[in-house]
Amino acid sequence: MTKVLIIAEHDGKHINGSTARAVTCAQGLSAESVEIAVFAAEGTALAEQAATLSGVTKVLLIENPANEHALAAVLAPQIEVLASEYSHVLAPSTTFGKDLTPRIAAHLGVPQISDIMRVESPRIFDRPIYAGNAIVTVEAPAGIVVATVRTASFSEAETTGSATIEKREVNIELPSHTRFVKLETSGGGDRPDLQAATKVVSGGRGVGSKDNFNVIYSLADKLGAAVGASRAAVDAGFIPNDHQVGQTGKIIAPELYMAFGISGAIQHLAGIKDAGTIVAINKDPDAPIFEVADFGLVGDLFEIIPELEKALA
């Protein structure tokens, strides 16, 4: 019996699209049931959103003031209590899932499979290693399968479902040794979310400064695109960390990825392998980004971006 429990990621208001991608992965497991657990302080609206995801059979809502912020040390023991009813526990391979899932696996005494990119059977999966430069096919040992789902490998499940919602109480003592203090977001304004966007305009070291990044934002806004960045641009302080794309940043799969002034280190390329069309604009004709770009243009991004904007007007 394959019974899947997916841990929902949310910000208190919205179920994150990464959860819907984990649902699609779960659909490949030929499961009898796919259930979503929503941990929140007050989560009725969140549970209702989760219930619309196609293929989900039930939503468990675990409300507790301690669940207001997603702290792994607080959530993991509650999931451990629920897990005995399931064959699989999945979470998206976002910073939320990466933080939480190994803690669940260790509580359950089983290894974890990170970043499922393909399901071969309910226990056999493909996952990337070496920043995606090799793929391993792995088999989970006996016991509950605990795994994270590489979100760029799966599309979001449709929202035509209507699963039942069940409130659960998990009556265990929760630790108080870990406390949320604050969250600072860079506030992307009305721009689409980097991980969900169909178009992404990205800048690297070649952009040169924080002020110069305005040209990247400007083109992104005209295209309705999200803004990404290379590690070099984030390290240099041109743009906040939540825009970083790559092995240790966000792994994305937009239809269009436009890279300006990004040389294309393998760690960056690991984050964009699944993009539909990659466009590279760089002064250096030998930049490695051109080896993966569908369309490359050698030139000065500060001359090219205004021309692109003119073409859009």
Binding site: D11, L71, A72, A73, A76, T95, K98, L100, P102, A106, G109, P111, Q112, I113, S114, D115, I129, Y130, N133, A134, I135, V136, T137, V138, E139, A140, P141, A142, H177, T178, R179, F180, V181, K182, E184, T185, S186, K199, V234, P240, N241, D242, Q247, T248, K250, L256, K273, G276, T277, I278, V279, F290, V292, A293, D294, F295, G296, L297, I304, A311
Partner: protein, 248 residues
Amino acid sequence: MKILVAVKRVVDFNVRIQVKADGSGVASDGVKMSMNPFDEIAVEEALRLKEAGKAEEVIAITIGPKASQEQLRTALAMGADRAIHVETDEDIQPLTAARILNAIIDKEEPKIVMLGKQAIDDDNNQTAQMLAALANWPQATFASQLEVDGDVANVTREVDAGLETIAVDLPAVISADLRLNEPRYVKLPDIMKAKRKPIDTFTLADLGVEAAASVKVLKTSAPATRQAGIKVETVDELVVALKERGLF
């Protein structure tokens, strides 16, 4: 207080790895090996805590074959006081690594265990979190800033939404992200000095640790490669090409 820092020997980040033709793994013969870059950041942070008077001793630990002592020597040359080598030729997966580190916690009673957030070979990103679970300690993963104030660490974490700050009571496990610090360069005299620093060696049996059930690798393959596309000469040409694909 003591800080325990775990380091791993991995293929150097500059090496372009090759998948073996028979699918049995990644070629490692004659390949340059180094300390996992995230672990180097973890070592640096531990040393800075010591230099700031917040810790008395920094102990580096690694798990792996004899050759992993090279990475311990690097940690000692950076400034760690002593090192522990848990010697094994087996492939050690994160849950077993966490069990080993937990056994060392019992022996050494550190207040902080620092690790890199992930090793750049297996990209698992699990060991710190698993150790925290086994030790029943708080965890602060993906740290980009760390302030230790008495028995509490305030940790800023790089998360998808931005920068999250949490407070954890010590003892705690902390995993380092890229922007926590820039590791120092090791100078020649420090390398010489490191040769005289002690390394204690244990086996899993010495520590009473049993390997956990492991994930079995059935095969290793090269990823699908993207076809190199075309270079266009002008912006107009690019716009036409993108319009044809319905992207512009």
